[in-house]
Symmetry: C2
Amino acid sequence: MSKYDNIPYKMYLDENEIPTAWYNVRSDMKNKPAPLIHPGTLQPLKFEDMQPIFCDELIRQELDNDTKYVPIPDEVLNFYKMYRPSPLTHAVFLEKMLDTPAHIFYKFEGNNTSGSHKLNSAIAQAYYAKKQGLKGVTTETGAGQWGTALSMACSYFGLDCKVYMVKVSYEQKPFRREVMRTYGANVTPSPSMDTEIGRKINAEHPGTTGSLGCAISEAVEAAVSTPGYRYELGSVLNQVLLHQSIIGLETKAACEKFGIKPDIIIGCAGGGSNLGGLISPFMGEKLRGEADYQIIAIEPASCPSFTRGRYVYDFADTGKVCPMAKMYTLGHDFIPSANHAGGLRYHGMSPILSQLYADGYMEARSVEQTAVFEAAEKFARVEGILPAPESSHAIRAAIDEALKCKETGEEKTIIFGLTGTGYFDLTAYEAFNNGTMTDYIPSDEDLEKGFASIPKLDL
Amino acid sequence: MSKYDNIPYKMYLDENEIPTAWYNVRSDMKNKPAPLIHPGTLQPLKFEDMQPIFCDELIRQELDNDTKYVPIPDEVLNFYKMYRPSPLTHAVFLEKMLDTPAHIFYKFEGNNTSGSHKLNSAIAQAYYAKKQGLKGVTTETGAGQWGTALSMACSYFGLDCKVYMVKVSYEQKPFRREVMRTYGANVTPSPSMDTEIGRKINAEHPGTTGSLGCAISEAVEAAVSTPGYRYELGSVLNQVLLHQSIIGLETKAACEKFGIKPDIIIGCAGGGSNLGGLISPFMGEKLRGEADYQIIAIEPASCPSFTRGRYVYDFADTGKVCPMAKMYTLGHDFIPSANHAGGLRYHGMSPILSQLYADGYMEARSVEQTAVFEAAEKFARVEGILPAPESSHAIRAAIDEALKCKETGEEKTIIFGLTGTGYFDLTAYEAFNNGTMTDYIPSDEDLEKGFASIPKLDL
């Protein structure tokens, strides 16, 4: 008999138990995250500086380090009810396979057409754009999770959605592109001939297949230069972590409802949107000294911003059109090796999570991608869900922790974030199935090249 | 105020409310479905005739017209709990968009990695194979929904799973193939050189890209000629409708729990697995005279077995290796036009549903594919789920019924089956998005060619 024998396999909150306010973890942080700064003046960005780029209300949320609970607007809550509450699942089949005394739970955010947690922030961002009377928004997308989420959200509110999609993905990964188009988005391969920077890059690098940095630059330029448009971003920003706190709040509510007491909380970390959202309310308890949890960020060994990066001000994007943020960074010129299949390829990290990590409130580990896909396959076979490569980083770590418990006999309770499904990542699964997937760990010299792009500031 | 204002948007049964027995609609049918017959002797197939092909327990279920409730084995129930209960969803956003007084609900079976309801029968069939001590099973797959479901089920029970996948899909639709391989299935492009019939077809038609008929023949040959193997099939058969009754039983339980009284029940119909499962318990009430429902089967205009087919004995497969069934059929040589994208391409229909239709217990309608994709896109945009083309046939009909209510002012309650997601059907969506999708309605002459393949029997 285990202490969790009498709870359901999948734990759903009732619809009226969905949290009605987001939680702002900054309100409980003694050391607040460092502000975004203007690359010219090196001064903290003010409301007015950001107004041409972001919606007003989202800037307020970005700058607000104090408000503890931000009410979720009714229109956003209504949309949440389409796909939330998401299940907290007891991984009994995985536990059995591992033959571990540990208890494993996962919060699954993949049961919506965007395929990931990104929709939680996309709908909020689209709502504030609509409320401000805007005509549309722009964004960039690589593989397409965020672009898909924002397309769905804009379609719901009748907003135009212009997505700059890295050209190589646009051409080689047509499926996500077509989901976005089905939701009415205007999807443009980047670099395009629509923007000044796109034309410049096309002229300088004929035949280029694009990069995320270039797509960001195009999306920002398009937003700033088109009346009635703003730019929206799916990770890294404080506002995004605020919206994503819905993941952690639901998880915590389910823990309380079903009597689950987590010891370890694990999330994958790219820009930090999922990890930050999942851990926020638990971190709040930890910051207030009310409870203790072991909180672990998992990143790819090929893009190790937490574990091998520097905690300094750097540009948020390779194109240097965005402000600078103080964060763990590999340098804005760092690009993971071409063999890297598993997402989480951002050079930096959420400023909130960076501060929490610097202050010792959480750990970070890196994992290699073949080990990640081995965990993904194991998980898929016993738990019946084909996980996204990003999520599988957390699965790898959860399995490793559960196997440690098997050695020590400890009955720890582990919760991890299963951010999404891998239906659009089957090229990577194919490489794994064929045994052609390889690992890559950047050498110190490789990292030095990225670090060299970090601006030397007199701060 | 509407009568359904106080129910949740998504209605989940509790885990302990999942039905624990399948319902056998044949037990309430006065006119039982016609038996499968042996093509040589024209006599009804007996247990022993089927034993080389199917598992023993599944043959018993196939032949059993009398048992009303068949207990679901614990091992199958445990697996169901991975992805069931599935939500019965109140389509409030769709209702609002249509501005209809009708109430629309859908039972969503797509929240599992197989992407459809097929898993409900796959896990049962794999269980009985395992219980019989078999080593493995064989099957065929076209686009891959059934193959994926059976791969997942076999992986769970540690059974070998050999899938013959139509060669053109194997090569051009690698994503489902890789999901099956991730679940450990052996996926072979058909026609292969593994089987006698495969070698024959390859010799006679060098470079052929295969057909479902050929893949069935290979799968059956492989099962019969390999010790410890049997063949499993995902639709048409009585046993499949029995397992799929879980859809309808959950739907009915949710209706009772939340006070929903359906007037119209709509399902898409290919071989009948989803429609039969969804309607079974409601049809039972209708057959017993306890309640009345308008039950509507929706099929593609390009493959109209109910609406334009003949109710006669025909081969179940184009390769004529399977028994003959009395069913609505377009002739086993009938193949829908190449422009047909929306699934549901089987020439025949479940014998159970055929008998119920012949006896006037249900209606059938056909819809054209561009109208189906228009409905799919509308639905995706407001309800947040990208539907499978198959499911979208039911969406089209539900929208049409709701619009009729708008004209008449009637406040009817409509339930339809949303069988799955369209993540692997984006090539069809792309054609729709690009405006290159076309419709096809076979002429009477086209149908006559198919009818010509129906055997002339002296029965």
